[in-house]
């Protein structure tokens, strides 16, 4: 068992509790690419590399798509943090990211209505059609 900031799990699972939206990973990264030139360049470099045939000489070393996605996610996390949002990746195997705020971050003088309204507003700026709800779950880590 491990205990981390009130977070308890056995060694092979992780849990989360977040209010926000469930976003398909590819849709999320595509949106981040449109919003952030740095992320766009990272994906563009990868796509350029994919155009080369085996044996062709390229003058730069491009990362794998998984590396690109991981780096993009780090940049996206910083972007969202400035909007008061967090990303819960829910492990590598799932198809979705969860964009919102960890429920444990509710402030002392903040009501549930205020907490949820602030998240809905922030999420709507990025994904206008996505509905927000409370997601609580666990995944293999």
């Amino acid at each position: 068992m491990k205990i981390r900031h009130g977070f308890v799990s056995n060694s092979s699972t992780s849990s989360f509790c977040i209010f926000g939206a469930e976003i398909d990973k590819d849709i999320f990264l595509d949106k981040m690419r449109k919003l952030n030139p740095k992320i766009d360049v990272m994906f563009a470099l990868f796509e350029e590399r994919e155009k080369f045939n085996e044996g062709d000489t390229i003058d730069y070393e491009a990362p794998s798509i998984d590396d690109v996605k991981e780096d993009a996610l780090e940049i996206a996390e910083e972007m969202l943090m400035k909007m008061g949002l967090e990303i819960e990746t829910a492990g590598y195997e799932g198809d979705y990211y969860y964009i919102g705020r960890d429920f444990t971050s509710i402030k002392r003088n903040e009501t549930r209505n205020q907490f949820e309204t602030s998240i809905k507003k922030a999420v709507k700026k990025l994904f206008p059609k996505q509905k927000c709800t409370l997601y609580e779950g666990t995944y293999q880590s």
Binding site: V8, A90, I106, F115, Y139, Q140
Partner: protein, 114 residues
């Protein structure tokens, strides 16, 4: 992965997220007996349920074969006009008489059902 009222998990796991305490099962049995004199101390696994029912809280026995019980309120229980402070205070008020020395925290746990 499965979704149940916003609950995300794969099919062989259980999880919860609550604010409250994590107590030794023996302590939970003592509290359950105080709250319900007819509670049979041999049914130690039911202690959390008795406490939760009497105090209008939520409980979880944790992973199989664990010796502790989580008691408190889940995020789903928070009322629309209730603040974070009021939410936490309601848990402390309900439990402090029975568990005066426990630390209160958010607990989020997941485990395989086996």
């Amino acid at each position: 992965m499965k979704i149940r009222n916003g609950f995300v998990s794969n099919s062989s796991t259980s999880s919860f997220c609550l604010f409250g305490i994590c107590v030794d099962r023996n302590d939970a049995v003592k509290a359950a007996k105080l709250l319900d004199p007819e509670f049979d101390v041999e049914d130690s696994y039911d202690a959390g349920e008795v406490i939760a029912e009497k105090l209008h809280l939520t409980y979880s026995n944790g992973p199989p074969e664990s010796d502790y019980v989580y008691i408190g309120r889940t995020a789903f229980d928070l009322k629309d006009d209730e603040t974070g402070a009021q939410f936490k205070q309601s848990v402390r008020s309900a439990l402090s008489s029975y568990f005066p020395d426990e630390d209160y925290s958010w607990y989020s746990e997941g485990w395989y059902d086996g």
